[in-house]
Symmetry: C2
Subunit: 326 residues, 2 copies
């Protein structure tokens, strides 16, 4: 059966959709700026479960996922739209008020203005479509398709926390009762890297960027495919969320070389940023992001679409569909 | 229970949402133009039924409803985004391909570029969020809030057809077998008044405008409320879709003064335009829209929020919630 990615690629070719394929579409706005826009659909029991989350968290996450796409373009967020379809059983409660409270708390933090959207009844599932728009300097949006061999690869923050949080929820833990509250919060209430995205865009230090929604392995593969480059990343350098080591199941195809590595590589929804930097700009980058947690995890290579994972004495080749050993 | 309108108004006040309340939000773009944006959520079994429509029609309608909002601002459409959540039983068929074929046929007609959106699985219902953006000359978007007492009131096209089509579908008629195919098509495959909207905006002849999605009575009430004016409309002047007279049930609170009048007044989703014009510009208007069907149906009054419907020898006062006799 065709995947969502497959459908989008097919439509892209069939209808010559040139603005599709990055975190956001880039649209000319005026002599100085471009507008970047994105939409994210969140559907109950596909993208979230009401018995796992809280309305404030869900409202926060609805905006956060779109702000993360804006950040990944090196843009500053400006406005948003929110469409929400609400089943009657939820409509009757204070859920919607709490949902918007979570949404607006995050919107206020980053100065995002809600300018539109739609509200509808829904037969049984809650559905949310989150649209956000940001601005970049003209022609300076940071794309997925512009990484160069020799660039250094960086990620922000710690990885694997959101996937570990999901694992805990799937095992029946709750946010209220878990001793791993922080991990569950990473899953339910992710923080977009709005500030770092804006700094990288304004100062033009990243050659390419993407947000980590599908997981490091999958999102790095997107950059490699669109830039027609490869990557070599070092297991030791990957900033695994410390708390997840004890949760590592070891079932992943990555093996168990480093505790938590599988979740950090393959787990999704961390909403950190993955970006590449030309060697001569690394010093400038480290100065610009002095107050932020970033990790240099590897480098861009000329081996188009080959991602190498370097562990102790071995190199694995990682593909979008998983790992393959030499 | 609070209505969707009620929720939106409450959020608007609570969070000071100044850009919400018109057909589109108006956003500054550059020295010459503003951007207008809108989102419309369509949910299976709330806004459409799959056994009534065809995938091509639904794809067409998804874009049409948003283009209608763009037209109502006097803007020319430019780009769009489409988010779609698809249940597995539909995903497996050619439904999605046909849906996009309908969407892109209309997009091509008006030069609208699809620049983004999202595709997701959905547990059981098809959900669609349609976003569209257009351009107007700077500061010249035609709002709902700027009608003036003394202006003439116009509508495009014929009214009541979409509601009559819905009535036929509810009675069990099908598009394929009905002898009122055109009426059913007005419901399932509405045509946005993109050309007229653009002409009115470019030439700045309308003082206010809205698209007819809730029905003439409801949408005129929106203009009256936001402009703090009233309206006097003449039953004889309302361009009732000719074919619907035979379908008129007479159950409406409007009575049966004119065959089809109730459907034309209270029926929704015609996606025609309702606009007001200063008396001195009526001649210019009629010249500009010489090739298009428009009807002058009444005039704007100073009686804030009072809508009078003039029939043979009587005047009814129409309110958003229905009619009240003197």
């Amino acid at each position: 059966m065709e995947t969502e990615f497959g459908l989008i690629k097919r439509l892209q070719r069939k209808y010559s959709l040139e603005k599709i394929g990055d975190d956001c579409a880039v649209l000319p706005q005026n002599a100085k700026t471009d507008l970047v826009v994105t939409a994210d659909l969140l559907i109950e029991d596909i993208d979230f479960r009401l018995d796992w989350t809280k309305p404030e968290f869900l409202g926060h996450k609805a905006l956060a996922v779109s702000l993360s796409d804006i950040a990944a373009m090196g843009a500053a967020p400006v406005w948003s739209m929110l469409s929400i379809g609400v089943p009657e059983k939820i409509w009757k409660t204070d859920f919607v008020d709490k949902f918007y409270a979570g949404y607006f708390r995050l919107a206020k933090k980053f100065g995002v203005e809600l300018v539109g959207g739609d509200v509808s009844k829904s037969p049984d599932k809650l559905v949310i479509d989150s649209v956000a728009a940001g601005e970049t300097r003209k022609g300076k949006a940071v794309l997925r398709s512009t990484a160069k061999a020799g660039d250094a690869i960086f990620v922000t923050g710690k990885l694997g926390g959101a996937a570990a949080g999901l694992m805990l929820l799937e095992k029946g833990e709750t946010y209220e009762n878990s001793k791993y509250k922080k991990l569950i919060e990473r899953q339910l209430k992710p923080n977009p890297q709005t500030e770092i995205g804006r700094i990288l865009g304004e100062n033009r230090v990243a050659t390419s960027m993407i947000d980590l929604s599908d997981g490091l392995s999958g999102d790095l593969a997107h950059i490699c495919e669109l830039s027609q480059v490869g990557a070599k990343i070092f297991a030791e350098k990957i900033p695994v969320e410390p708390k997840i080591a004890v949760l590592e199941t070891g079932k992943s195809k990555t093996g168990k070389r480093k505790p938590g590595l599988a979740l950090a590589l393959d787990g999704g929804e961390d909403f950190e940023l993955l970006f590449t930097v030309a060697p001569k700009k690394i010093f400038q980058l480290e100065k610009l992001l002095a107050g932020h947690k970033i990790s240099r995890i590897g480098e861009v290579t000329a081996n188009a679409e080959i991602i190498e994972l370097v562990t102790d004495k071995k190199i694995d080749v990682l593909r979008p569909e998983g790992f393959r050993h030499f």
